[in-house]
Amino acid sequence: MARAADCGPDRGARVMLEISLRHRLSGFTLDLALSAPSGVTALFGPSGAGKTTVVNAVAGLLRPEQGRIAVGGEVLLDTGANICLPPHKRRIGYVFQDARLFPHLSVRANLLYGRRFAPVSRDGAEFDRVVAMLGLEALLERRPAALSGGEKSRVALGRALLCAPRMLLMDEPLAALDAARKEEILPYFERLRDEVQLPILYVSHAPAEVARLATSVALIEAGHLRGFGPAREVLSDPGLAPSLGMREAGAVISGQVAGQEADGLARIETAGGPVLLPYPTGQPGQALRLRIHAGDVTLARGRPEGLSALNILPARITQIRPAEAPSVYVQLALGPERLLARLTTRSVAALGLTEGMECHAIIKAMSVASEDVLGR
């Protein structure tokens, strides 16, 4: 446990999920420990890093050589104390990387499979809501074999959501889906996270999804933890940025909805000043987070005029770190918030930017896509 606590984020926050594992497979060793607060814990890392293996251990499908897993204080596994709850007693909804639908059951029966075991009997409304969200209405009487790839993964998702679990494991649940469909499903995940307070372990290769959903991010490489912490820290860490993919590095800043302006723009108050976004973001007073890609931030020494960009925030340069040549990451302080900008070395030289200097960060309203507005 000591090890797990070492890399826990928000050491003060209540630990919701505790995972400490050691397991050898031929040619691959998994060895990591983390304890995460409630919310979404994202597992991120290259193919073959061990993400599915971790998730399987939490589900009880893999019994690690050594390990301890606890959810919300309840111990699911403790090899030391010889505790190992069988999978069906763990009440964990698992969206598998491969869909694993029951081929002999209709889509409806697949979706309802877990209902019988749910401690609270879910009402039909919940079923209808999930079916509608996943666009499965027309498929309910079909068999899995006749579904398309994306349809299968949607049914698998619905099946796990409808079993009233106390925790969700999702292994790349949206990989087979198009952007529009993802856009419909992600808000539901956010509601599960925020309203239902369901702990979620979320595997994804898409940094946008991770940034949007994750409370904590664990970066796994070759079976070991490369980084772990609150999403905002991991995602704005210039050292970890390359692991997230070039386009995808970026910081997350907090804000509060101030209201909607007459022309439809939403106004968000952040520690760095007001930010305007071109779509509804919620009720006034609602807390939210904005993910700003490092590549989308332009810097100016003076306050530029006559620009179509609406959001021009005063900032101070806190760090300049070389990235892949010929570019650098510039970390900016907007009051207590951190922003990450990626610039060419030429621009840094031309503008004479140095650490400690005051400048303006320019963010196009349009470059903060709605998928980068995170629910809290």
Binding site: L61, H88, R90
Partner: protein
Amino acid sequence: MNWLSGQDWQAVALSLKVAGWATALSLPPGIFVAYALARWRFAGRSIVNGLVHLPLILPPVVTGYLLLIGFAPNGPIGGALAKIGLTLAFTWKGAALAAGVMAFPLMVRAIRLAIEAVDPKLEEAAATLGASRAWVFATVTLPLIAPGVLAGAITAYAKAMGEFGATITFVSNIPGQTQTLPLAIYSQLQVPGGEADAARLVVISVTLALGALLVSEWLARRIAARIAGRG
């Protein structure tokens, strides 16, 4: 119908009863043993496997002889059963036992192959949804092996319809009680010139078994079509 004698009809009815019961009663243990052999690793697994195959390996007469020793009214098991009012020797129930025992290895083989073809990942998925082992078996494994169970049952049924050696040795040939079709056919064949009578019974026997076969094939295809999403 004067084509068949009353005794022939008795044999037909009896064969159907015996084969039906033999199949129905050996199905649950057949599924259980097949599951255990396919999925569990336990000491004595090979022994169980060997025992199950024994009726296939032994000449049927020997199996019948062993049944006779064990289940005769004064035999070790037969005596015990007699106390609860169950007499197997020389009754149709004994014929069903003999047919069931002879058909058992065929049934277990088919079901076991089907179980081994089930992807354990589906069973795991069911478990994560909260289903206990028994429930997983009933709602996932069993439906998925249904074609194999059907194949096993029909093979067993066909074998039970044709079983001769063990039956006549164990329960002998009592018209109306233990004289199944194969025994009737055999009796006819032992009489010089009895071929024509035997042939009639063979036709009936084959018709009955093939009818069951066709029905089972049709059922199996329907199940497979449902799983393949065409049903």
